[in-house]
Amino acid sequence: MRAIRNCFCLKKRKPGFEEPSILAAETHFTVNEVEALHDLFKKLSSSVIDDGLIHKEEFQLALFNNSNKKNLFLDRLFDLFDIKRNGVIEFGEFVRSLNVFHPRAPEADKIAYLFRLYDLQQTGFIARDELKEMVLALLSESDLSLSNDAVESIVDKTMMEADLKGDGKIDEEEWKEFVTNNPSILKNMTLPYLKELTISFPSFILNTDVKDLE
């Protein structure tokens, strides 16, 4: 006879679900925080297609309030969150990906993650062309236009500082050096709200049997 432990046992398992205790042990989140993230995940993953998985449209809806809005950076972020590369973000992937954004995650992890995000073609380098493409994408997203000369000058200035070997692309070693000298670049890689999850999603806390040990 199965012992009734907590409500997670009784629910039908959605694909990609991992036990909160396992995820808590392998990330900077406590069990209660993982459960709060599950609340958020449930909300996001049922917004367009109710299947317990976050689809691209649901991610777009969450970040832009528009499920059809295409965005280069969101595409890259979605691909990185989709660790198994099966086109959807499962709960385990969601928690493990957000873990890198935790204030206590090591800076080295954030630096490496950001490099992969910006390495559009996944060649192991950020090429000058990719950098220019991203600047143009941002300007277009913001409805801004700068002259080609202005864009070239911004890209040139950055490449000059970052591309120490002068080969027209930034490798991971050059990237680490560059970020160390320009820490503002890492800003988006830390979400202070991840330390306040149980405040943002308190409804779960009333139902859980698990008490945080810390």
Partner: protein, 135 residues
């Protein structure tokens, strides 16, 4: 007031909403800082901010690229103080960050909504997280 010019292409890119996950966790009107882009000059922006500080009876102190605006009357959590920091991408493309440096976040957001945003309308291109409004 000296402005900060060592912003680079990656700082520009990081302005993208497609990369800002904070929206998953907090509503725009609960944030302790807001940013806007402006296609005005540095002096035009500082002048406008100075006017606003004067209207709100905030004392202005300049520290390098930072403009500190401090209130004197006590609010729920002490006097409201706002920091304004201006970053240059080009002489006619700036990013301005307004941060609550002390006081109550709700009061900060209320002051932004009622007093600051309307006064900045002429120089704001777009507020972070919101598309540019065609006027």
């Amino acid at each position: 007031m000296a402005k900060l010019t060592n912003l680079n292409a990656f700082d520009i890119i990081s302005l993208s909403s497609g990369f800002d996950l904070s929206g998953l966790f907090v509503e725009n009107d609960e944030k302790k800082e807001v940013q806007f882009t402006s296609t005005h000059t540095f002096s035009s922006i500082t002048s406008k901010l100075g006017d606003i500080a004067q209207n709100l009876k905030l004392k202005v102190k300049k520290q390098g690229g930072l403009m500190k605006m401090e209130g004197t009357s006590g609010g729920r959590k002490g006097a409201l103080a706002i920091d304004a920091e201006i970053f240059e991408f080009t002489p006619s493309f700036h990013l301005v960050e307004l941060r609550k440096s002390s006081g109550d976040t709700l009061e900060f957001q209320k002051t932004l909504k009622q007093d600051v945003r309307p006064a900045l309308k002429d120089i704001v291109w777009a507020w972070q997280g919101q598309p540019h409004q065609q006027s």
